[in-house]
Each structure stands twice: as structure tokens, then as C-alpha cells.
Amino acid sequence: MAMDTTITLRGAALAPDASGALVWPAERTLVVADLHLEKGSAFAARGRMLPPYDTRATLDRLAGLVERLKPARVICLGDSFHDRRAASRMDPADVERLKALTVRAEDWVWVTGNHDPEPPEGFGGRIVDELALGPLTFRHEAVPGAVGELSGHLHPAAAVLVPGRRVRERCFAFDGAKLILPAFGAFTGGLNVLNPAISGLLAKPFEVHLLARGKVHRFPAGRLSPDSG
């Protein structure tokens, strides 16, 4: 029996996907947040030799979604590139991958983020600071009190206790007025939604849509377990 995990925000029916992306079927729109492309190489430049495959892994997952859902519009909710020099470090094969991907949607939108206030040109798509679409607003960082807003930036994650263990995974956080998306990038950690940085933005009681074992599970905030950090 599948749980209903549809989110209704100002009348728009939105479907959280187990991959961490959000689908708005009525508008044939796919939304992803915080790709952080080239995060691995940013660390490598500082002597931390993380594997360089995060861009490839992230783009492969995104390409899979585009192939499966064939959206007309793709919105990247900011921090798509880990830093200003990310494009210059990208492997040529990955550059081609990304270029080939952005032409597969009629409208590819790069929303700017704090990591990429000026996303690199030349990958296709258009660049905006925020985007209003019907009843909804798409921006990188949530604005306190905003209604009908979709944002990223905070990398929400949540933990629940099930008999015998604790499950901590990325999640969507939703309070009826605003929806915060999980980070989509391969090397992006998560911040517990009970941390005031996230819970402080949300009206109580809020709920999360947890991504675990290839499915989306809905929990009210009251069922969640805090991190010990």
C-alpha cells in the first residue's frame, strides 16, 4: 500500500521523487536543488583528495530523471555549481554531458545561489535570481514568512527511530506554506530539520518527506529524532 506523499502548495499538486527531485506534473516541471557540481575538485584543490566523480554521478542521476520524466522545464534551485571556478575544473567529458542535458528541456533555468551568484555561461539554459510560476515562487534561500515558496540551500535531512535502529536520510521539509528541497548533488551532506536553522523557518507543525530505500516516506515533525551534534 503506497503512502500518499503528494504535497499541495497553494493549489499546486507537487510530487516528491525518491531521487530528491520534485515533480510538478501539471506544469511538466522538474525541480532539483543544490547540485554542487565540482565539490570534489574544490576539496582536492585544498589538499583533500576526494574522488573526482561527483559531477559525473550527479549528472548521471539527473539525466536519468530527464529521460524518465521528459519534463518541459527543469529548474535548478541554486548552488548548482560549488564555486565560481567550478566550470574551469570540470572534466571535458562532463562539460559535454551537461551541455547535452540542458537542451533536452524546452526551458532550463539556473536559479542563482550563494555558491554560484553568477553561474557559468555556455552550458545552455537561462539564469535568474528567482522565478515566479503560477502560484509558486522558486528561489535558492527561503525567505521567512514567504508563502508558496520552493527553496533549497539548507540541505534538509531527518532521522526517525524504527525498532532497532535509527534511519537518517535526506528529506523534503514542508509546513503548508513553503517547501524546502533536499540537496541533489552526490557529495552533499544534510542538516537535521530539527536544527533551528531549518525548523526556525517553518511553521509548526511541519512534516517531512524522507527519502529511504528508494521510496518517499511521510512523517510529522513530532516523529523525528534530533542529531546529537
Partner: protein, 822 residues
């Protein structure tokens, strides 16, 4: 003992011995002789009997006769506390003989000012740890510091060799051999099965047959008196806590001066300590000692012990090494010892006067442990200890060492290779393996290869590799060492004192109000504040006990072999407790006894399920892996496996149907694709990868005071593992991870030997009901704690179902409680 002073012992030293009423032991003189000849030496001797002094004596004599400045002798101990203690003990003879010698310690606790002074003006004798030595060797002035070094003493060598810390130290010694070619090496070791491995470890060539190391054996003391407790209570069928026997243990404590009570796990320590105090009608001073108690608290217990103020200490392996307490006259081992060498070393903690026998009492917790204790006593009596094949040195440790060496001084790869293969753990390191590790250290070594610009090491025009900048050296020094542990949280009592540390995951499973047993008391969990678990004394409800992940050591092969032999041969049964003999006789009648060389598999129905019991005797870790692989295969055979439980002796699998073809079930090819597939998903591999990533500096260690704040900035090693596994499966980090796992948590090496051994020798008994020998393992079902170490893998599977099953349920429950007002 020779009455005439040896010509090698100068008058003031001989005078000092006389003033104490002593004469040098033959092994002490043999150590001086080895030094005179310029030879390295391995001294194998029981604790006590002047082993440490034997190590230092040649240096004291040399410095007495030819006083000089500069570092002469380096002493390396696995324990900080031991280094400090040895330094204190050595001050005494140095002062009394009026020797012109400064002795100092250098550990993680040494203040920065003193460290700097030590580098500029080193003492003649320096006591340190493997990690502090690695740091010293990473400085550009290391050549100057060690140029005049004449001797390196490695204490408790048996405990270091074969570990990653030992690998790091061996590489350090290889570097010292280049900086100070004249320096001798001295190894001090407890009795071991295979001295050859330690001789190789000490040799400048890394090989046992080089002949540059003399073997010196200390006089064996009176042989130990080891007794197995014959309990008046009925022997339990299962369990590990031996609660039934603690009344009898308490009576023994009353009858002795000072008793060391060794247990195998921290959880056991907490429970045994609680129970002993519950029955402590005489209010005997009994203390608790284990690795996660606060250092201060441990020091207090050690000091009280040294001062003779305690009647007993309940301890884990935290007291296997370290300070000698002359007052201990009884060692109690609660639960089976798991290995003969370990038992010998623990028994050796009692009674250091060589003319009196050490006294030890073994307390088996269940029937199989009776057999194991008996086997261990026999092994000790015949001095046949557990030999283990030496494992090759870790590639992660090598990577860390390479970076350290580049920090000290740019090197030519050829030179460093020649140096590294002189360290025994790396004696067989292939050049291309070395080059892969070097490539990883320099540029990450990833197949994609776009990191050329971000090297940590650069190749200079003169063909030497140098660090790319001072930041790289800083990063190395922050991350040096091979000791990794689970993320820990401090436990603080009501904003009062810190009691110690427990694993973060344990605390995360608690909700405020839960009680748990720690530091010998019942505590109520209040919550987590500022990276600390806040607790109060007392509370109600069934307490939880923190358990180490993988804290239990598996039964050694040698001991397992003896247990199998004993089971198979009724002539060896007399002397076993009557209820154990009866149990074995019943087994022979109802089923069959496991043969020494074959494999007995029993199947029977119980509670609507089919059980398969595998008498493998290969230790818990290997059984755990075997359980995972068997259930995968049974799934494919259509047998509907439902679960399994592993002990040190036996594996039990329950399923809907019994597999028909046992030869096919146990075919060696299970170590192929199934193993690969399982290892990729295994949480053990993830844990192992995390350690490798920490040791190689891919992720940073968390240092106290630098904990993450607000945004989660620490990198999850799981994310890296997943990406690497998919895109670069042959990467050196993954190779290092698999090599670690093969010998450690998954024990694949042992499992593979086992499958080869039993091929074609499987006896399958299909029974109509459970056999006597199967009772203990069936009782273990459901008894294993879910937060315990052993069921980790099973949990992994169960959790898949749990998440899928339990969550929708919780979700709907949540709906009724907290439906959102939208």
C-alpha cells in the same frame, strides 16, 4: 644466577644491583652482550623479572661509561601511560647510580614549549609512542635529532606487530635506520607462538633470516596454576555474562589480596561490576576499568591499585598491557579467553615474583565455554599458543607515512621504496603497488585524472617529490596516527564531572528518560547538550548497556582446533563437569559428534520453521559472513531463508525449507560473486572505508573543539564510498578497504580456509527435533541485542524490511496524531 659480576657490567651498575640485594639476571646480561656486539635483540620474557630494565641496561652502561649529549635511546610504548610510568621508574636507577642522563617523555600530552625544546636539545633517553615518533620524523630537522641515536626499544612488541599502529612504527623504524644506521633495535615481548615473525619485524631487512637480531629468552617463572571454576550452580546453556558464578568469584576475591577480574567486553564489565557490588556484603573496595571511562577515572583506579588500596578491579583489555602491579595474586577470567596467547598474557598480570606461580581462575559462562576453557588450559600447559599468519602492511598507513616523509625532506621514489621494503609488514610490497599509493598521495590517483593540478606532492627537477605547500604539512600533522574510532560523545553527570565516552550511535538510540549502565552506575539519559550526553544518577526501567561495535574478539583458529579435537574424542571428556559430559553423551546418542576435520550440519524442524545448524568452529566474524552468504544462496535455491544467528562455535540458519545438497550449499564458489555483491552493500565495508579515509587524510579527523556547528560541514565517508565504488572500483582506497575487511570483521581468509578444509567431508544429519549440541545456539536467537555488534549485518537486512514495513505504519499513526492543518 651468577655470583660473580659479569665483566660487561661496570662497577657502579653492579654496585647498584648489590645495593638492592639483586644480581643481574642472565637475560639482562645477554642483552648487554648483544649490545656489545652491536646486535639488535628480541627479549621474550614473562611480565616482571626485570624485562624493561633489561632493555635499558645496555644504554645505561654505555652512557655511564661514555657520557654524551644528544638523543641516545628512544623507547616506544603502545600506551602513553606506560611511557610515563617507565620514565618514572627509570629515573630511580639513573639517580641512584648518579648517571649523567636526562630521561623525558613525549606524547600527545606534552606541551608545545617542551616539544620545541626537545627537538632543539633532545634528552639522552626519550620515551614516546608510535604516533609521536611519526610526527617527529615528519620535521625537517629529524635528521639532526636522530643522527646520534644508538638504540630503539619497542615495548610490548607482541601487541604492536600485526596492527596498523605496528605498520606505522615499522615504517618509522625503517626511516630511523637511514637517519641513524648505527642504532640497534630492541624488542620486548610477552611469550608468543612465533618469535620468527617478531625477529623479522625487528630486523633491518624486514626478514627473519637476516641474523641481525638475537633472540633472548627470559627465565620462565614457575608455571601458572590455572583452575576452571566448577560451579555449584547449574551450568547455563547460553549467554556470556556468567552471572551464575559471580557469588563464587566474590568468595575468591575475599580469599585473596588483590584480584584482577578480566572480562571480554565493556558491557560484560559493567554487568559483572554491578553484580559484584550487589553481593559485596563486606564492602570490599572493588573498582571498574575499561577503555571508554574518562582517563582521569582510569588513572585514579590505577593509582589506587598501585597503592594497594583495592581488593579487585573488573577490567577489559584496557588492562592487558601496562603498569605492573606486584600485589595482584589472582587473575580471574570471566567468560572464555578466546585465545591461548591472550590467556597467557592475562595470567601473567598476576604475581610478578618469578619463584611463585601465577594463579588464575577461568569462569566459563556456558557449556561451550567450558570446552573452550579446558582447551585453553591445555594449550597453555603445552605452551602451544595461537600463531597467526602475518598480514601485509596497510596501504592506508603507507600513504600516511609517504606524506610524512615528504614533509620531512623531499625524496626520490626509488629511495623511499628501498626504505619501505625494509619494514617487515611491507617486505613483499610490489613496486607497482607502491607507485599506486604514491600516485594517490600525490594527486589522488583517480582514473579520471583531472586532479593533476591539485597535487599534494610535486616532482621537482632533481627527481625528488616534495610537499606542494605548508598547508599540506599542517594537514598531515593534524591527521597523523592510525587509531580511528566511532564518533564518541562525552557523558556528563548533571553538569558535573565527565564520566567517559560512549559511541554516538548508542546515544542516538536513547530517548530522554531511558536508563543505561555506564561507569559502574545506573544513569538516566536527560538529553544531548553541546556535544555531550547529559545524565543523572538513578532512574527506572530495564537499563541498556553500551556495546562496542566489534568489541568481541573471535575464537582463534588454534583454540577452535583444540575444541573440535576434544569434542570428537570421548577419551578427553573425563575432567569436564558432569553436566557437560552428559550433554556430549546425549549428543552422541541423539545425533553424532562433530568430527575433528569434517563438518557436521544438522537440520531439524522447530516452531514451524526448518533449522540448519552448522558446526564450523571458526569464530563469530567468519560465521557472520558465512551466514550472509548461505542465506543469499538459500534464497536462490528457493529455500526461503528467514534469518540466522552466529556464535563463536556454531551458525544456525532458519528457513522455510532445508536445502538438499549440502556440498552445493557449501561450495567454495560462494566466495565469488555473492561475496563481492554482499561486500559492496555491507555496512562493515563502509565502516572499514571510513577508517581508511581517515588514515589517508581524505576526510579529516574531528578534533575536540572543532565540532561542526550549524551547517553540517563534515563529509560523510559513505557518500565518497558510493561514488568511488561506482566510478573507480579498482582505486587504491577500495583495495586497502577490502584487504582490511578480509582479515578483520569479515574474516574471509578464515572462511576460505574452512570451506577448502571441509570440502567433500560434510556430514548431514536430518533430525526430527533439535539436538543437544544445537540448544545453545537456538537459545541465542532473540537473545542477541539489536544494538549489539554481532547482529549488525542481519539488522542491515531487517532494516530494509523495517523501513518498508514499519514506516507506513508509523506514518499512518502520525497522520492521526498530527495531521497538518493546511
Amino acid at each position: 644466577m651468577p655470583d660473580l659480576p659479569s665483566p660487561l657490567i661496570p662497577a657502579n651498575v653492579a654496585g647498584w644491583f648489590r645495593s638492592r640485594g639483586w644480581a643481574p639476571h642472565p637475560h639482562q646480561i645477554a642483552m648487554v652482550e648483544a649490545a656489545e656486539a652491536g646486535d639488535s635483540a628480541l627479549l621474550i620474557a614473562p611480565t616482571g623479572g626485570g624485562k624493561t630494565l633489561a632493555g635499558f641496561l645496555p644504554s645505561l652502561i654505555e652512557l655511564a661509561e661514555r657520557p654524551r649529549e644528544g638523543l641516545h635511546t628512544l623507547y616506544i610504548s603502545p600506551l602513553k601511560a606506560l611511557a610515563v610510568d617507565i620514565q618514572r621508574n627509570l629515573e630511580e636507577p639513573v639517580a641512584e647510580m648518579r648517571l649523567p642522563i636526562r630521561t623525558e617523555t613525549r606524547t600527545g600530552d606534552t606541551p608545545e614549549s617542551k616539544r620545541r625544546r626537545q627537538r632543539a636539545h633532545p634528552p639522552q633517553i626519550l620515551m614516546t609512542t608510535p604516533e609521536s615518533l611519526a610526527l617527529l620524523l615528519s620535521y625537517a630537522d629529524s635528521a639532526a635529532i636522530f643522527r646520534h641515536l644508538r638504540c630503539v626499544i619497542v615495548d610490548e612488541l607482541h601487541a604492536l606487530a600485526g596492527t596498523k599502529r605496528g605498520d606505522l612504527l615499522a615504517l618509522g623504524l625503517a626511516r630511523l635506520a637511514r637517519l641513524a644506521p648505527a642504532a640497534r633495535r630492541v624488542g620486548l615481548s610477552a611469550t608468543v607462538a612465533e618469535p620468527d615473525q617478531l625477529l623479522a619485524w625487528l630486523s633491518r631487512t624486514g626478514r627473519a633470516d637476516n641474523g641481525d637480531v638475537r633472540l633472548v629468552t627470559g627465565r620462565a617463572g614457575a608455571s601458572a596454576e590455572v583452575e576452571i571454576l566448577t560451579t555449584r550452580e547449574r551450568l547455563p546453556w547460553a549467554g556470556h555474562m556468567a552471572m551464575h558464578a559471580l557469588g563464587e568469584v566474590y568468595q575468591r576475591i575475599r580469599g585473596h589480596r588483590t584480584t584482577l577480574v578480566f572480562v571480554n567486553t565493556r558491557a560484560q564489565a559493567e554487568l559483572v561490576f554491578q553484580e559484584l557490588w550487589r553481593i559485596n556484603d563486606d564492602n570490599l573496595p572493588i573498582a571498574l576499568h575499561h577503555g571508554s571511562l574518562a582517563a582521569e577515572q582510569r588513572r585514579k583506579v590505577e593509582a589506587a591499585m598501585a597503592a594497594g588500596k583495592l581488593r579487585a578491579v573488573v577490567a577489559t583489555s584496557s588492562l592487558d598491557l601496562g603498569i605492573d602491579w606486584a600485589a595482584v595474586d589472582l587473575v580471574v577470567q570471566v567468560g572464555a579467553p578466546k585465545g591461548a596467547s591472550r590467556l597467557v598474557q592475562r595470567i601473567g598480570r598476576a604475581n610478578h615474583r618469578l619463584d611463585e606461580p601465577s594463579r588464575a581462575l577461568l569462569v566459563p559462562a556456558n557449556r561451550f565455554e567450558v570446552l573452550e576453557c579446558r582447551a585453553a588450559v591445555d594449550a597453555v600447559a603445552s605452551m602451544s599458543l595461537d600463531g597467526e599468519r602475518p598480514r601485509p602492511g596497510g596501504l592506508d598507513v603507507l600513504a600516511q607515512h609517504m606524506l610524512g616523509m615528504a614533509c620531512a625532506d623531499p625524496f626520490r621514489p626509488d629511495d623511499l621504496y628501498d626504505e619501505v621494503v625494509c619494514a617487515a609488514p611491507y617486505a613483499n610490497l610490489a613496486r607497482d603497488e607502491f607507485d599506486d599509493v604514491l600516485d594517490f598521495v600525490a594527486t589522488g590517483g583517480y582514473a579520471l585524472g583531472n586532479y593533476e593540478r591539485f597535487h599534494r606532492l610535486v616532482m621537482r627537477e632533481d627527481g625528488r617529490m616534495a610537499v606542494a605547500g605548508p598547508a599540506v604539512a599542517r594537514q598531515y600533522r593534524m591527521n597523523v596516527g592510525t587509531i580511528t574510532q566511532e564518533a564518541m560523545l562525552r557523558v556528563r553527570l548533571n553538569r558535573g564531572p565527565v564520566l567517559g565516552e560512549v559511541e554516538e550511535y548508542f546515544i542516538q538510540d536513547l530517548t530522554p528518560g531511558d536508563t543505561f549502565m555506564f561507569a559502574g552506575q545506573l544513569l538516566k539519559f536527560l538529553g544531548v547538550r553541546e556535544m555531550e550526553a547529559q545524565v543523572a544518577k538513578g532512574g527506572t526501567g530495564e537499563p541498556k548497556v553500551p556495546a562496542y561495535a566489534g568489541g568481541r574478539l573471535p575464537l582463534t583458529s588454534a583454540l577452535a582446533d583444540r575444541v573440535r579435537a576434544m569434542l570428537a574424542d570421548p577419551a578427553q571428556w573425563p575432567g569436564l563437569p558432569e553436566d557437560v559430559q552428559e550433554w556430549l553423551r546425549l549428543q552422541r546418542w541423539r545425533s553424532v559428534l562433530p568430527a575433528r576435520d569434517g563438518l557436521l550440519v544438522e537440520s531439524f524442524p522447530k516452531a514451524g520453521k526448518r533449522f540448519l545448524v552448522v558446526y564450523a568452529f571458526e569464530g563469530r566474524n567468519a560465521h557472520q559472513t558465512l551466514g550472509m552468504l548461505l542465506t543469499r544462496r538459500m534464497e536462490r535455491m528457493g529455500c526461503g531463508p528467514l534469518g540466522f544467528v552466529a556464535t563463536d562455535y556454531v551458525l544456525a540458519v532458519w528457513s522455510l525449507r532445508t536445502p538438499r545438497d549440502m556440498d552445493a550449499l557449501f561450495d567454495q564458489d560462494m566466495l565469488g560473486d555473492d561475496l563481492e555483491a554482499w561486500m559492496d552493500e555491507s555496512s562493515m565495508l563502509r565502516r572499514t572505508f571510513r577508517n581508511v579515509a581517515l588514515i589517508t587524510g581524505v576526510i579529516d579527523r574531528r578534533h575536540p573543539g572543532q565540532e561542526k556547528s550549524g551547517r553540517q560541514v563534515t563529509f560523510s565517508s559513505d557518500l565518497i564510498y558510493d561514488v568511488l565504488r561506482k566510478h573507480d572500483p579498482g582505486h587504491v582506497l577500495l583495495r586497502a578497504t577490502r584487504a582490511d575487511a578480509a582479515g578483520g570483521l569479515t574474516d574471509i581468509r578464515r572462511l576460505s580456509d574452512f570451506l577448502a578444509r571441509v570440502k567433500g567431508r560434510i556430514t548431514h544429519k536430518d533430525l526430527d527435533r533439535i539436538s543437544p549440541l544445537a540448544v545453545p545456539v537456538i537459545l541465542e536467537i532473540g537473545r542477541e541485542r539489536v544494538d549489539g555488534s554481532a547482529t549488525d549485518e542481519l539488522l542491515e537486512q531487517a532494516a530494509a524490511d523495517l523501513v518498508a514495513e514499519a514506516m507506513p505504519e508509523l506514518g499512518s499513526e502520525g497522520d492521526s496524531q498530527g495531521r497538518l492543518a493546511l
